[in-house]
Symmetry: C2
Subunit: 221 residues, 2 copies
DNA sequence: CCCCGGGTTACGGTTTCCCGTAAGAAAGAC
DNA sequence: GTCTTTCTTACGGGAAACCGTAACCCGGGG
């Protein structure tokens, strides 16, 4: 079993229960921090002392407070950790439920497990830890169904950009200009209209307002 | 101190840490349930046995699963409990951070305390429990600032209705019809335009898409 | 009774958006 | 090279939304 585990979690209550779960698993050395910067510091220090951690359990969203941080969120922390200690296994424990976000964690950051804070999360946490101790990856059964649900429409970068601009109050007719600034193509007004039309049709919407709330719900903007 | 406490919380991990917190406070009888229906049942049964609970700690959002419930969320649970046992003190422990929602809990449902799942939530939970044991109400210091922030614009019922209809894809010109159906006034097309204009101006927006995401963010729709 | 003021509604002109068609540009096949 | 095919852009008519103005309705006060 894992011998040295680090927990990065700002919610005191979650932090407590994760520690308790690790206790149940018989993991003796479980350090915990409430800030991302501390997490990275501890990992680096542990490596220097030849006692590196072999598992990081981290949340995604960390709340700002008076204690200003260089690393502001779990995603950034994971990127930094991957640099500092590439072999460290990473388990993300978060309430995030947006397929787009979780997919990106697996695909782009190569996390080993994602456990969502939900009904049986403590049990699932144990299962996930056991699983990634032996193999390299754990994918929650609960998640898969949700991932399928997103297949209503595959948003392209330009789609997200357009909707994002709309939600910021940019008039449709000015969007081509902003797209060019960002180097996104296509950028013609007709193309913008066409993409919007396409999205509305695919999702059976009639108004852009619906698109905006939809993307908001799925964390795409 | 409270003697008989019931915890309604579907997240296993949160449930664990709340139990641990109560333990720390020396509360011996702390039952816990994962479903709202169970919570109500236990409360009623305890009353019948002349051993009523004196504190309920509940979450707001309960996730659906195979186990279909009559009561689907914390808000509904609180309403039901207020019927069953009016003198029961209620502490809400949730991640919800929208001023509109939390205000409604205090004002309309008369909860005794709201503790947000956040950085020092376990400590705050202890403080809140101690406070409402002596007096009747605990209001988090962290929350007050947030409540002020909402004063950008006071949304009327008709405003919410209009934005809600927009977000459902109803064309603006058809909104008068839907408003009449719901018995909301004013319902004229000009009034709809005027209210939208007013809201946009107050919030310094230029497009309805912005209004929609704004209301989404604050839980108004 | 009339008058007044707030709120609501009706009506035009202008702008923006929507959508179909067609012209133009880029990438690949032969 | 030319010819497709596909993607992108331009254009124009029609619908919707925007916005200012003016008419309307409806209580309260004189």
């Amino acid at each position: 079993m894992f011998e040295r585990v680090l927990i990065a979690e700002d919610h005191e209550s979650s932090n407590i229960s994760v520690r308790k779960t690790l206790e149940d698993l018989g993991i003796e050395i479980a350090h915990y921090v409430f800030y991302c910067d501390d997490a990275l510091t501890w990992i680096q220090k542990a490596r220097q002392n030849d006692e590196p951690y072999d598992l990081l359990i981290t949340d995604l969203s960390f709340e700002e407070d008076h204690n200003k941080q260089r690393i502001t969120g779990g995603t950034e922390l994971i990127k930094a950790v991957r640099q500092a200690q590439p072999n460290l296994k990473i388990l993300v424990f978060s309430a995030e439920n947006k397929a787009a976000v979780i997919d990106a964690l697996y695909d782009e950051l190569g996390i080993n497990a994602y456990v969502r804070k939900a009904r049986n999360d403590a049990q699932e946490l144990k299962l996930a830890i056991n699983t990634i101790y032996k193999s390299s990856k754990y994918i929650s059964a609960n998640l898969r169904q949700n991932i399928k649900a997103k297949n209503a429409y595959e948003f392209a970068d330009v789609d997200i950009a357009i909707i994002s601009l709309l939600s910021q109050g940019i008039p449709q007719k000015n969007i081509p200009f902003h797209l060019q600034e960002k180097g996104i193509s296509p950028s013609g007004l007709s193309s913008v209209e066409k993409r919007l039309n396409l999205m509305r049709e695919a999702l059976e919407f009639s108004k852009n307002e619906q698109l905006v709330v939809y993307c908001k719900d799925f964390g795409l903007i």
